[in-house]
Amino acid sequence: MTRAALLCTTLLCTGCFGTVFHLEHDAPGSGTVQHAPSLDLGIGQRVRPDDPGEQNVTVAPEATFGGGVWDGEWSPASSGQVAAWYGEHDRSHMADQFFGGDSRIAPLWSVGGALGYDILPLGGADRRTTLTFRVTDEGLGVESGWAWEMTSDNHSGFAGIFLSSWSRFFYLRMLWGPERGFGAESGIALDYALTWVWSR
């Protein structure tokens, strides 16, 4: 456990929460070449191409530490998950401007899944292992999945909509499901995202 804490410390201190692999496919910028640049262009200078945006595939082990409200009751919550998704950014190498945030790791549009485990379930419920499929567009998403309550050995499905935002290692999630009702949770998410990125 100490080693895990030290690893978290190291990542936290360096701000190093991921590794990005830039793929060379489709790398050139977009734009016309038919128009001559302005005469103000200095000798040797060039006009920056338009940004076609980029797409990425990300695999991110993540642990969350926080709390939230479920059915009007506040409680701490903590979970671990391994998420994987495909997403797109309108601008390359830039944070999508969303909730004042730096959501370059979590793109505005994405589709993916996550295998998770409730370390400290919200609302004191049974610990669950979950397999979730999510589609997210600008933070608003739908999710559906399967949950296994380990103590009672119950299996169940779930579905719902959520609104989520990330900013660095801070996250906020509001969820609603027909069976689960409304909930909100927030806290710190420590992840190390492996991202493969290439041009759109």
Partner: protein, 289 residues
């Protein structure tokens, strides 16, 4: 959980979180400068060891606070110094701004350690006991640690470049360079400066061509280039081709045959072109929007 929360939710930590949040999200935008740049480092370095120790306390409730704080403070200092200096020394592209002058903020670490150790036994339960206050404080501390969003640098797209752009032709200097390079091809700017006693020089677009792997490509003469004696002229040729496919097929070289009329004679400059990019990130001062 309560021990970890109690360790973070102390008045001086809350104060540091407020300074961090206000400086990052208000002051840096309203009055960017040396002071606002360093203030976040100072407040962040004060707060960070406590946050990390709280995390350790969460994961390992019986960990001795004093010893953990000592090692954490030391590690935070080392990693902060490394993050601010090593990327520059090693020439690495990183998504933060390495600045050795930020090391001045390290002076706050002893204060952070003293504050944590001396107040270890002082409980400020009012922040932990009241759920709403506790939740708000956690949000404040977590939110404050979100630094001002920064881009990961300007993306450097691959471009065609003329290997030897400047040539003396008679009494004129001919400079040719790729001023546009996109998925649709490349645009070549040609600047000709004629000496007063030199013969006029012009570009013969009909005889100019680009030799790519799949054959010869004729340009579209968008702006003709003709420099009289003692004058300077700027022209532009567009070569349209599927540059995206060329890049994906690994085409990295080409040869430009630039035909010139020099007085009544002719001259052809054979200019090698290369297609590439030095790095995925980085400043590109030679590019304009």
């Amino acid at each position: 959980m309560s021990r970890a929360l109690a360790f973070v939710l102390r008045p001086w930590n809350i104060a540091a979180a407020i300074v961090l949040a206000v400086n990052d999200h208000v002051v840096k935008r309203a009055a960017p400068g040396w002071v606002s740049g360093k203030l976040s480092d100072v407040a962040g370095l004060f707060l960070l060891p406590s946050l990390v120790v709280a995390l350790v306390a969460l994961l390992r409730p019986r960990a001795p606070i004093s010893r953990t704080m000592r090692w954490t403070t030391f590690a935070v200092g080392i990693l902060f110094a490394a993050a601010k200096t090593l990327p520059l020394a090693m020439g690495l592209d990183v998504p933060w701004v390495p600045d050795p002058t930020d090391l001045v903020a390290l002076a706050v670490l002893p204060l952070a350690w003293l504050h944590a150790v001396r107040s270890a036994d002082v409980r400020h339960d009012f922040l932990v006991r009241v759920p709403a206050l506790r939740f708000a404080s956690v949000l404040l501390v977590a939110g404050a640690t979100i630094a001002t969003p920064q881009s990961m640098g300007i993306r450097r797209f691959p471009t065609w470049e003329v290997s030897r752009p400047s040539h003396a032709v008679g009494g004129a200097i001919v400079q040719a360079w790729v001023s546009r390079s996109t998925r649709e091809g490349l645009g070549l700017s040609i600047d000709v400066a004629c000496a007063p006693d030199a013969a006029p020089v012009s570009v013969d677009a009909q005889r100019t061509f680009l030799r790519l792997h799949h054959g010869h490509l004729a340009p579209i003469e968008v702006v003709s280039t003709k420099a009289e004696s003692g004058a300077q002229a700027r022209g532009y040729l567009a070569f349209e081709f599927d540059n995206l496919r060329a890049w994906n097929d690994g085409v990295r070289t080409a040869m430009l045959h630039l035909a010139l009329r020099v007085g009544s004679g002719r001259r052809t400059l054979v200019l090698p072109l290369v297609h590439g990019r030095p790095s995925a990130h980085g400043k590109v001062p030679e590019e304009v929007q």
